[in-house]
């Protein structure tokens, strides 16, 4: 597998050449199809974690025949251990707006919305002011596109795209059945591009410097760099932009405290990687993809407590709509508690793993489907800590 060495880069937060209006001027003179081809060519994949190719998403939405289309920036950053979008919206929001406007120009949308996580409401007033200014500036350029902002109300599930649309429309944030996908029927059941905050910043970078510049970093399957949120047992917690495709051991050498026993890659819904697998684990779409959360645990941490916390989290945040997720989360939590207390034999963990895999197949949305990631990786690698 292709590998890259750990390398810190400075693209997202680079404000030295943050002349977003010049980027827009240059881009809106071009043919929208060509811009979309550039994005496809760059290999940019969604930075929220799922990694769908951004350019394709745009192309599908552009090809839909509809008077009304929308661009939505998903800023419902709720994955435990992730705090990069907050930092991006705080420090370089204009780059995000630019990405949205370029998207609107390409797909033929006149309205864009930022769905801001309710816990980040302290950013709201400042963002509104900057959005007003931006709207005015692009109107003067003759670009027919307006950005608005919507505030979430404290539900993790609303980061799931179709639940986010339901929430924006004023309902309970319960995910929809797919298909239809957002590119066909999203917000208000109209064709919609929904992108992560960070993805939109890379869009404006690609439009400024060209796809080749973006491709200089990363591997064949994971082009470019990515912003990581580092937390847990580390002397240097915070936000770091790193080249994709690095092996996990180099990451741990840089950020660990010398006693790292496991890294949870991708937050609660991600995978737990134990020390013995650090060398062979690549951070990227060919290895373990992540929305940016890197939580480091040292040997003083009980992995039972970690797993217990994740399961409590999922039990609480499951929207309750589909049975596999609603009941499955509760049973997994009760199950590990029973094993810990000795009310169930250790072999019961195998049954629980099967339940988690069933949820992966049967749950309606990403929340229920991904519970198996932390569950099975922690049970497989830290079985003794769960039992004793």
């Amino acid at each position: 597998m292709e590998k890259r060495n750990l390398k810190k880069v400075d693209i997202i937060f680079d404000i030295s050449e943050c002349d977003y209006l010049a980027v827009l001027d240059k881009t809106i003179l071009r043919d929208p199809d060509e811009v979309i081809l550039d994005i496809i060519d760059s290999g940019l994949k969604g930075r929220g974690g799922a990694g769908f190719p951004t350019g394709l998403k745009w192309k599908f939405t552009k090809n839909e025949d509809s008077e009304i289309k929308y661009v939505i920036c998903n800023a419902d950053e709720g994955e435990p251990g992730t705090f990069k979008d907050r930092e991006i919206l705080d420090r370089v929001p204009e780059k995000v707006f630019t990405g949205m406007a370029i998207c609107g120009f390409c797909i033929g949308a006149k309205e864009g919305y930022i769905y801001l996580r309710g816990e980040y409401n302290f950013l709201l007033e400042e963002l509104k002011m900057k959005i007003d200014l931006f709207n005015k500036q692009i109107r003067e350029k003759g670009l027919e596109f307006t950005i608005g902002i919507r505030s979430g109300s404290g539900a993790y599930i609303c980061g799931e795209e179709s639940a986010l649309f339901e929430s924006m429309e004023g309902y309970r944030g319960e995910p929809r059945n797919k298909p239809p996908y957002p590119t066909v029927a999203g917000y208000n059941w109209k064709p919609t591009v929904i992108n992560n905050v960070e993805t939109l910043v890379y869009v404006s970078m690609i439009c400024r410097l060209g796809p080749d510049k973006f491709k200089e970093l990363g591997t064949k399957d994971s082009r470019g760099s990515k912003v990581f949120s580092v937390s847990g047992d580390t002397p240097s917690a915070g936000i770091f932009e790193l080249e994709l495709g690095m092996p996990l051991n180099e990451f741990v050498e840089e950020f660990g405290d010398g006693d790292t026993k496991a890294v949870q890659v991708g937050g609660a819904s991600g995978h737990c990687v134990p020390r013995k697998q650090f060398n062979e684990t690549i951070i990227g779409f060919e290895g373990i993809p992540t929305g940016g959360s890197m939580m480091i645990f040292n040997s003083s941490r009980s992995m039972y407590n970690v797993l217990h916390d994740y399961l409590e989290f999922f039990t609480e945040e499951s929207c309750g709509q589909c049975t596999p997720c609603r009941v499955g989360c509760q049973q997994l939590l009760k199950g590990i508690e029973a094993v810990k207390k000795g009310e169930r034999k250790p072999a019961y963990l195998e049954e629980l793993k099967k339940l988690a895999l069933t949820m992966k197949v049967a749950a309606k949305c990403g929340l229920g489907q991904s519970v198996a990631n932390p569950f099975n990786s922690i049970i497989d690698n830290f079985r003794e800590e769960i039992i004793y």
């Binding site: 251990g81 705090f83 309710g118 004023g170 309902y171 309970r172 989290f313």
Partner: protein
């Protein structure tokens, strides 16, 4: 829903109706109306939900469904200084539970309750997005990072406890 009927102040009810009108009584604006309503009353008891339902011409059940779905909405009144302890994973493994226990012990209330004088209330959150500062506590708008059980008393003293 609660058993005791609460008498809402007429001025506040009128204010709420005004809010609904400012959103054109559009049922699609339910969440925004509820945010404003909670701003007026401090919480969303059944009686407030009934007013909103009537104004937006929605079934009360629908309003109740939305109120109970989102954790930002509460049907219990909160304290003057609402204390929230983050139970996200990074905070949890760094000892948030011990911090919570200390708050509970000192204030002598449980999660979801308020002190008798209405000054403090305790609730738990799931990740405020400040994992680098774990464990995190917020009181009102103020964020406290790297809180230890020993530091709880000092924090409360800032609020004249």
């Amino acid at each position: 829903m609660s058993h005791i009927k609460i008498q809402l102040k007429e001025a506040q009810v009128n204010q709420l109706k005004e809010v609904c009108r400012s959103f054109d009584n559009d049922p699609g604006e339910l969440i925004n109306v509820l945010h404003k309503a909670q701003g007026i009353f401090g919480y969303l008891p059944a009686e407030v939900q009934e007013v909103v339902a009537r104004e937006l011409q929605l079934p009360v059940a629908k309003v109740y469904g939305v109120v109970t779905f989102y954790s930002f909405f509460t049907m219990q009144p909160k304290g003057l200084h609402p204390i929230s302890i983050c139970m996200g994973t990074a905070c949890y493994v760094r000892g948030a539970e011990k911090v919570l226990d200390e708050f509970r012990r000192i204030l002598n209330i449980n999660v979801g309750e308020s002190t008798a004088d209405g000054k403090f209330s305790i609730s738990c959150l799931r990740c405020v997005g400040a994992c680098g500062l774990a464990p995190v506590v917020t009181i009102g708008e103020k964020v406290y990072g790297r809180v230890s059980p020993d530091g709880v008393k000092d924090i409360l003293r800032e609020y004249e406890f």
